[in-house]
């Protein structure tokens, strides 16, 4: 009896937007919980910019015909409780048929189960491996840990690391996974781990840590934390006497503008990989960079690029979901994304059966204050 009632209710809720939709110009509601304030804002503000820019482009291009996408972008204040409230509201009150998520895995872990249980597709740029939550959850970008593994393989091939030290952010799961990705590959080929040191995101004074690192006879230092902090550690390490022969490996977050600005001369030669490379010469990317600069006055970083990609992927899925635009058909649309042109990686995005896209990262290094492919 109860089950019947429930299914009746679900038919009703599904039917209402469909009915309304046919009566007026069609509209799909997309909910975007994003941490535009609080501690995750540094990544989410550019991501929000990317999403907004993509949404404007899609609306202008008319590629969806009469269909309108109603984008509800709201702040979670970097608080997962608020993210949970928002997603509940998006789904129950606003009748959102698709959720696009924030970059914070902590928040995503809290609200994605709601989307899963209500059978509403969600596409997230959270860095962690959150697609395992269920078949309604999709990732918009490759898991950074996976990209880091490909970086490690490339690095092993070029430099044969023997003695390695790791510094990573212990209060951020994504950076731990990225470190683990590299470490696993390195240890497979017999590189010795001499030191594993941790920091927290708010640390600024690394003098004791880098003195300890500089005293070890290492050939490779892996730093897994945000771009600015990575730069900061490198500067302090070089000042503490870390020999210039020690190569430094960093994470995709080094691909930001801030990294170069903060690091200056000290970050010359740092090797990292990125979903996104601002110097990517493809037409798609050049147009994106100039549009972004025009709209926001600054250069896009990889968070912005991924945000942009999130919306473009969503738009493609919605387009292929027509004409009923139900959550179920949008989910099918997301699962069917294949060879979508993108500004990320090698320029072509395909969803795998693990609901995580495949595209290769670009291995980059810093030369003369600029990012160049290695």
């Amino acid at each position: 009896m109860k089950k019947n009632l429930l299914s009746l209710a679900s038919i009703f809720t599904l039917a209402v937007p469909a009915l309304l939709g046919t009566a007026q110009a069609q509209e799909v509601v997309v909910g975007v919980p994003i941490s535009s304030s609080g501690i995750f804002a540094f990544a989410n503000l550019p991501a929000r910019n990317g999403i907004t820019l993509a949404a404007e482009e899609v609306a202008k291009s008319g590629e969806l015909g009469p269909l309108k996408i109603k984008l509800l972008i709201e702040d979670t204040n970097s608080d997962k409780n608020q993210a949970v409230n928002l997603v509940n509201r998006f789904i129950n009150t606003n009748k959102a048929v698709l959720i696009l998520g924030s970059t914070s895995t902590v928040e995503a872990q809290a609200y994605l189960p709601i989307a899963q249980s209500k059978k509403i597709p969600a596409l997230t740029q959270a860095s962690g491996d959150v697609a395992v939550i269920g078949d309604w959850i999709f990732k918009a970008n490759a898991a950074p840990a996976k990209i880091m593994e490909s970086l490690a393989l490339r690095y092993i091939k070029d430099y044969q690391p023997k003695r390695v030290a790791y510094i990573f952010n212990r209060d951020n799961e994504s950076y731990i996974q990225q470190k683990d990705g590299v470490k696993g590959r390195f240890e497979q080929v017999g590189a010795k781990t001499l030191l594993e040191e941790t920091i927290v995101g708010t640390d600024t004074d690394f003098s004791a840590l880098v003195t300890k690192v500089a005293a070890q006879n290492i050939d490779t230092l892996v730093i897994s934390t945000t771009g600015e902090v990575t730069a900061n550690i490198i500067i302090q390490a070089r000042q503490a006497g870390l020999p210039s022969s020690v190569r430094i490996v960093a994470t995709p977050s080094a691909g930001s503008h801030q990294f170069l600005k903060v690091g200056g001369a000290a970050v010359e030669g740092v090797i990292f990989t990125s979903d996104y490379f601002i110097g990517n010469p493809s037409k798609l990317n050049q147009e994106f960079v100039s549009a972004y600069k025009k709209k926001y006055g600054i250069e896009p970083d990889n968070f912005a690029a991924i945000g942009y990609t999130v919306f473009k992927t969503a738009a493609a899925a919605i387009k292929s979901a027509g004409p009923d635009y139900s959550p179920e058909s949008i989910r099918k649309g997301l699962a069917g994304i294949k060879n979508l042109p993108t500004i990320l990686g090698n320029g072509s995005l395909t969803q795998t059966t693990a609901r995580t896209p495949a595209y290769d990262g670009v291995v980059l290094t810093v030369r003369d204050g600029k990012f160049v492919p290695l």
Binding site: S37, I39, A41, F42, L45, R170, E197, T198, I199, V200, T202, D203, T204, D205, F206, S207, A208, L209, T211, K212, A215, T226, E228, V229, A231, N232, I235, Q236, Q239, A240, G241, Q258, K261, V262, G264, A265
Partner: protein
Amino acid sequence: MLAQQLLNGLVTGSTYALFALGFTLVFGVLHVLNLAHGAIFMAGAFAGLYAVTAAELPLYLAFLIAMLSGGLVSVAVDWLALRPLRQRGSSEFAAIISSLGIAQVLMSAGQAISQTQIMRFPFGTFPVVIYEFWGVRISLLQAAILGLSLLLAFTLLLFLFRTDFGRRVRAVAISERTSSLLGIRPNIVYFQTFFISGALAGAAGVIIGLAFNSVHFLMGEPFLLKAFVVIVLGGLGSIGGALIGGVMLGLIQTIAVSYLSSSLSDAIIYSLLFCILLIRPTGLFGKLHIETRVVRS
């Protein structure tokens, strides 16, 4: 490496001391924990940073501007958040809440201004010179930090214990009412105290921003937490204690990171704090007040 690490600890400790000086000064005079001190420190650092990057002023001027802004923000904090409570004679609890409230407002402003970005002073703002003695490396900046924190602490001590101004401050610290009957205007003394406290925070903001290459709207929080440890080590309200406590904390932390584990350094520090409070309920060098007498003496 030990010698180098001890030096690192000394420098790190000096930055803690520098931060804690103004914090402990306000506690000494008003007996309130000013939880907005971290935000004032951030405001000073921001002012110094923008003076260098936007106005392209030389560092010494930026430093003065940072001290001035820190002082003014601090006075504003007192005016908006603490003065109304003082007039009502509220508890120390109320002051903690209201300073926390205004800290959030300031941090929110910092967030809006910085767009949450981590900022830094441009290269060459402070010359990068590194000296090496007997295998121990010290940069000019580190030496400056050490010297400056000592200088500021001693100046403050002299001020408080050798001048009429200091006597006034200490009188108001003991009793605002009695002081006013003696012809001292307490509001002026509070103004001066908060200004000095804020100016010290501003100075600390620039120095720490320079030393650790980062100016950020949340930069005050970890220092505020560390300042609790410093003042428990050194005794609440004691200027000399802040210096000693800061350096002790710096050394302990450095030793913990270099010989134990960086992951456990926080746990070690706060456990230490906890243990000290168990043994000495008013801090390592704090006076044992006879008033705390529910437990028998």
